[in-house]
Symmetry: C2
């Protein structure tokens, strides 16, 4: 019995698919992800094809993309030759993996370029001062962000979760942190 017979599962899947384009992947990719996320068992590509009505090749590409984010993985199912696929169900894991891959694709190349430019600018007298300053600032800013990310990345997951649950209340624990009505 197809998962998508249930109207709410279907609503979720269709919405997820549409949002995909906003998130920088195509609809097929995010639909496949939604289907696997809702599925209670590993699915072979064929079945994804059937349930979503996509071309086999398209599903293959989508699965590859999802695996590149490490939020979907191949699993072997006893007594079946075909590859099966499951989505990461730990949403915190999902988030950190997407973050890692997006940083790699969207931030790291720019930091690399800025490293180069910063080096060149250091010994370049012809550059207008404000250009030098703007590029340097951007370099410092992104480097700082990158370092922060790196430090967060290596924290144990429970610590990260605790930090997030704490929300704005972290400041209470900092030296000179604000006291509020709930702190005593």
């Amino acid at each position: 019995m197809p998962l998508l017979d249930h109207p709410d599962a279907k609503a979720f899947l269709l919405h997820w698919g549409e949002m995909g384009t906003q998130w920088g992947v195509n609809r097929s990719v995010s639909q496949v992800h939604a289907l696997l996320y809702l599925s209670d068992r590993p699915l072979p590509a064929d079945e994804i094809v059937d349930q979503l009505g996509l071309a086999r090749s398209n599903v293959s590409t989508a699965l590859k993309e999802l695996q590149s984010y490490a939020i979907v993985r191949r699993v072997h199912v006893e007594g079946d030759r075909r590859d099966h696929f499951v989505a990461e169900l730990d949403l915190w894991e999902m988030l950190t993996r997407i973050a890692a891959e997006r940083k790699r694709r969207e931030i790291d190349p720019t930091i690399a370029l800025l490293n180069e430019l910063a080096q060149r600018l250091a010994k370049d007298a012809t550059c207008p001062p404000h250009v030098r300053e703007r590029i340097t600032r951007m370099h410092e800013f992104l480097s700082t962000l990158g370092n922060w990310y790196e430090q967060m990345r290596v924290l144990p997951k429970p610590t990260l979760v605790a930090l997030m649950k704490l929300g704005g209340k972290v400041v209470r624990f900092l030296p000179g942190g604000k006291k509020d009505a709930n702190s005593g």
Copy 2:
């Protein structure tokens, strides 16, 4: 004298333009942003057209998009009828504004849908248990993230900056936080 005469400024601008497509905007948008970011004075649309070699209409659309993120704003220049534009130069501001807009576009619609679905699922006996659970989990997860974001958003900027600079060392200050070699 055009800004882009300098090779490093040009390299920055070209790179920024290419990355734009990764970041979910088109090349024109990110190029216009780069140009304004490097400029030491407000630029009228005409001049952006000249320096980047884009069509006037294109620049108009790009400026609108950048203003929707609130990282570029219109300014009036004494004695000139034309609108001029400047980029946000405080990079921390830039980041928080982009984050705000992206959350609005990329997360809020999904939270809204999940609110609906969660409500429907609560009184729906026909839904397979694992589907209910997965959707509920996603709902809780995104809501928690949203709440965390909201609490970070309202913190004073210096506090945010301090928190980031602190990096992984925040945990030292938390109750039960780990001690490390640098903490004593």
